[in-house]
């Protein structure tokens, strides 16, 4: 299977400030690729380089097997792009705007008409026949998706499509992205982790211009499987009694404690759990809660960026 997007040793500096440092990753066909990072991590910069809007300091980008050239790039015909804050000509109506986009991408009049109607219905703007200048942020975002999908792109790039939206708007946008999966490859940047867990199958976390983590979501979770075991006692005395036991002493090196509870981190959670249970029985301690904590994307994210 061919990789839709391939980035090799990409670097970008603004003056002396290095924003992207030797970044390499690939996105296979039909994946939904979550591109994570803090604000200012370089997500938008990377996307703009993929679109040929910014000139890489070094490195190469390939889209559908063709190299991206800075400035006028032919690879843009494969790409649909949704900017973080999409801006339109406020004096146009949605249909007129899509018609303009369609004419630019050389669609026939019939295709433009069919596609525009289909997409405006998909994003729920089919009845919004007024000038874009009067649109709300969410409506603009949805029109942004419609224009990005108009030429049936092989690669859809969305720059923080959900950041500025209310929960309902976010759900709608994510649903639309899920719907186009299978037809197109989606790369979307975000710092909302629940969105990523909802729709992405692959992720990359960008930190200080470098790739801190990348791969399929399930693989990453598997690799970083450092589960926690939460034990909560009724009183501090019970907890003290528990931790004074020699059997659990070796486990406590990685534990986090509060007054009445502790969380033990371990790579082999089964062994830890049986040791803990055995100690509890032996000491006749009855905790009010024992829970195995699975790694969350949030804990992974915190781990790599902190």
């Amino acid at each position: 299977m061919m990789d839709t997007l391939c980035i090799e040793n990409l670097s970008k500096s603004f003056g002396t400030h290095k924003v992207i440092d030797n970044l390499s990753f690939t996105v296979p066909e039909h994946a939904i690729f979550g591109f994570l990072g803090q604000n200012g991590a370089g997500k938008t910069t990377t996307m703009k380089m993929i679109l040929g809007l910014l000139k890489p300091t070094s490195g190469s980008i390939t889209v559908c097997g063709e190299p991206v050239r800075y400035g006028q790039t032919k690879t843009n015909r494969y790409i649909g792009y949704l900017p973080d804050v999409p801006e339109f000509y406020g004096y146009m109506k949605p249909y007129e705007y899509l018609k303009l986009c369609g004419e630019i991408t050389d669609l026939s009049i019939k295709e433009i008409k069919n596609k525009s109607e289909e997409l405006l219905t998909l994003v729920g703007l089919d009845k919004a026949n007024k000038r874009i200048g009067g649109f709300s942020r969410g409506m603009k975002q949805r029109l942004g998706i419609a224009q990005a999908l108009l030429n049936e792109p092989k690669l859809l790039i969305c720059d923080e499509p959900t950041s500025a939206l209310d929960p309902l708007g976010r759900k709608e946008v994510l649903d639309i992205l899920l719907q186009v999966k299978g037809k197109t490859t989606v790369v979307f940047s975000t710092h909302i982790l629940s969105d990523v867990e909802r729709i992405c199958d692959r992720i990359a976390i960008l930190h200080n211009g470098e790739l801190a983590l990348s791969g399929t979501l399930s693989d990453i979770k598997e690799q970083h499987k450092q589960n926690g075991l939460l034990i909560e006692f009724t009183s501090q005395a019970d907890k003290e009694q528990f931790i004074s036991s020699p059997q659990v002493a070796s486990l406590l090196t990685t534990a986090e404690q509060t007054d009445t509870s502790l969380v033990i981190h371990s790579h082999n959670i089964d062994k830890t759990e049986s040791a803990v249970l055995a100690t509890l029985v032996e000491k006749q301690l009855l905790p009010i809660k024992i829970e195995v904590q699975e790694p969350t994307l949030e804990s992974l994210f915190m781990e790599v960026v902190s």
Binding site: K48, L53, I104
Partner: protein, 254 residues
């Protein structure tokens, strides 16, 4: 070609819906009417402002006075308004980021420049033609247009100078991200032309002649041949500026 037509259509839509067409039309219509009327009523105005007892003799106004007004008002007021109206032609797109969507759809960057330039030229030509037409009709009505030579050629020269300014705006618009930068660039260009005009040896090459010596042409003080070099230089400058604008825009980070 299809994308060129589509984007030019978008530019036309913008011109109409952002009232550029209305403003240019109104201003140049007004200028067109003012030229002959000012020429006609100036002597009467002067007379009525004179204190009693003082007699001055003012020559009866002629068609020349009307055209003198035309070639004073259009290069001053008309061209300034033209430059101000179009100064944001690139800056508005840059600052709002509206071009990003178009360019990432595969719209060629040269098409952006050429479409915008086409629309600017069309609007300038239409407004200028309106102004000229109105002045021409009124002048012919008042004075039967006697004693004026080379009128069409002279009008053409000023039109060409307007095109040069539009090409300068395109180049300035690509170089600077703000409309003020573009205004400054265009203003600086005109000042540079005026400064060059101080050197007598360079005068015969200077395109500013096209906007400053029109009356000399009408009065037969200068001949059509005297304008050949400025016209050639002006055309070369227009082509050069538009090509440079495209080349620079192709390399611009957005």
């Amino acid at each position: 070609m299809k994308s060129y037509l589509a984007f030019t259509k978008k530019e036309f839509c913008e011109t109409v819906r952002t009232y550029k067409l209305l403003i240019m039309g109104a201003v140049f219509l007004l200028l067109g009417m003012m030229n002959p009327i000012t020429a006609k009523i100036t002597p009467q105005l002067l007379k009525s402002f004179m204190p009693a007892g003082i007699e001055i003799t003012i020559a009866e106004p002629t068609a020349m006075d009307s055209w003198a007004q035309f070639f004073k008002n259009v290069p001053q007021m008309g061209l300034i308004i033209l430059v101000i109206i179009f100064s944001g032609i690139m800056a508005n797109e840059f600052s709002r980021g509206t071009l990003i969507n178009m360019l990432t759809k595969g719209l060629s960057r040269s098409v952006v420049i050429l479409s915008k330039f086409t629309m600017a030229v069309l609007l300038w030509t239409a407004s200028y033609a309106l102004c000229f037409g109105v002045t021409y009709v009124y002048t012919a009505y008042f004075w039967k247009g006697d004693g004026v030579s080379n009128i069409l050629f002279s009008v053409f020269c000023l039109w060409l100078f307007g095109i040069l300014l539009l090409a300068t705006i395109m180049l300035g618009g690509v170089i600077f991200n703000s409309s003020y930068g573009c205004l400054l660039f265009t203003g600086g260009f005109v000042v540079a032309l005026l400064l060059i005009n101080i050197v007598p040896r360079l005068q015969k090459y200077n395109p500013i002649t096209l906007a400053s010596s029109n009356m000399a042409l009408l009065a037969n003080e200068m001949s059509v041949a005297d304008f050949t070099l400025p016209i050639v230089i002006c055309c070369l400058a227009v082509i050069g500026f538009v090509i440079s604008a495209i080349a620079l825009f192709n390399k611009k980070q957005l």
